[in-house]
Structure formats: C-alpha cells, structure tokens
Amino acid sequence: MAVGDLYELVTKQKLYEQDVFNVFHYEMDVDFEHTYANFAEAAIASFEANILPKILAIQSNEIVTHEISCRNLFNASDAATKLVTYTGGRITAAGDRGLPSFNAVGFQMSGDNPAVRKGHKRFAGLKELDQDSGIIAAAGTYTAPLADCEDALAASLPSVPFALSDLFIPVTVKRVREGVAGAYTYRLPSTSGEKVVSRILVAAFDMLVSSQLSRKVGVGI
C-alpha cells in the first residue's frame, strides 16, 4: 500500500436475479491516516458515501446493490469486501416499468494519456420512460442525475470522514499483453513497473441506450 498503487473496486448488483457488475479503477494519490483495516476498506467507505449515491440516482428501484469489494492490484493483503443493501432511486410504476438488464446507459471516460484507450461504464436499471425509441429521454427528469453521475465518475475519492480530497484518482488501466500474435491474452498489471494508466478527465453519457450482449439470458452470469 503505497502512493501510486492501483485499486480495483467492484460493485455487485442484482437485477431480475441476474448479476450486474461494474468495475472501477483508482490510483492512490496521497498517503493518509485512517481508521479502517486497510486502504481498500477506506476506498470502499469513500465510494459508498460519495460515488455510489450518484449511480443509484440513475437506476430503478428494481436493481439492488449487494456487495462492494476492493483490492490493491499490487498487494494481495490490501483487500476488503463490504456487504450492503441499496436500491436504485428511480421508482417504477404502471406504464413505466423497468427495462431488461441488458439495457444500460453507457458512459465514455476520456483521460489524460493517449496511450490508453477510453474507458466505458454501463449501468443497468433503466425505466421505460427514461428512454424514447432507444434514446435517452433528454426532456424529462433523467438528464440531471445523469449529469451528476458524469461528475461523480470523473471525481476523486475523498477520505471519509475527514473529507480530505484527491486520495484516490479515477483511472483507466491499460491491460498487459502477453502471448504470441494471434493468441494474445490480456491481464491487469500486477506490479508498479507494469502500470500504464490514464487519469479520467471527463465522463460523458451516451444518448443511445446500450444493449449488453453479455447480460442477455443464457450469455451472461
């Protein structure tokens, strides 16, 4: 656990009995005093307090967040898991039911390093009236929480409860390529020497509702 270490934070959600995971990466920017078991647990606490509410605000009340886990990619002992129960904040109703779990709102995340491709996030839990012909309904009440979520995805994790800023910076991580041409495999870096990251500067949601093939029944988990 040192400045510059990479942390992988995973939110585990369920929608219609299907698992919906989202993975976030953060780079530790400042060493700081805290009262948690390790820095991974501190990152979870900060994410839960500062970022997760913005994500829940764009999801329907049919999706349940049940676990947040975090691990230091460079130090296996710096890891934590927290069981939680949160539902999305957008209430479904007759005529405004939830869309299938493979329908999601996508976000593009541009960073400061052109050597790393753009990051993407896709959040399930859309409602019927949040979209119109497969395109985000911009005239309703949905774009304001989406814009808040854009800010959150590009924001650093501050410490909780001390409110120091910029402890963990959101990043996109370049995968390490291994193998031979035609049979390359990709993995996350496991040492600081392998690390290539792009610090996220802007997150912007896409107007077209995404269809996640991996979340379709029989394909996903």
């Binding site: 911009a138 309703g140 912007a204 107007m207």
Partner: protein, 70 residues
Amino acid sequence: MVMQRFLLKVRQLDTLSKRFGAERIDVSGKLKGLVDTYAPLAVEGDEELDHARERLFDSVEMFTGLHLHE
C-alpha cells in the same frame, strides 16, 4: 469540460437523427432538454444562465444546422 460533455451528445444525436429521422426521435426536443440540463453547469464566473443557454444553442446550430433559438 461541460461543453465537451454537451457536444458529445449533440454529435451523437446528429448521427442518430440521420439514421432514424429527426422527427421520429424528436431531436429538437432532446437537444432543448440537454441545453436545460447543461446550461446551469456551464455558468462560469459572471456569465449568466441566459448567456450560457445561448452559447449552447449556438453550438447546436453550428454542429447540426438546427435552429433552436426561441
């Protein structure tokens, strides 16, 4: 940064309107909704909300040719 987020959606709606038809997806209504969302965020310094809204409308016209000014 706010302008970058806004213009990404303008470009996407421009492409989608060419594919599906501007009327079918109500591209004008969607762009006006986006202007209402992003104008308050685009206010910087002493710039007033109306000016921010006009600036976003100008950007829409430049990218799409659509006339959104009241």
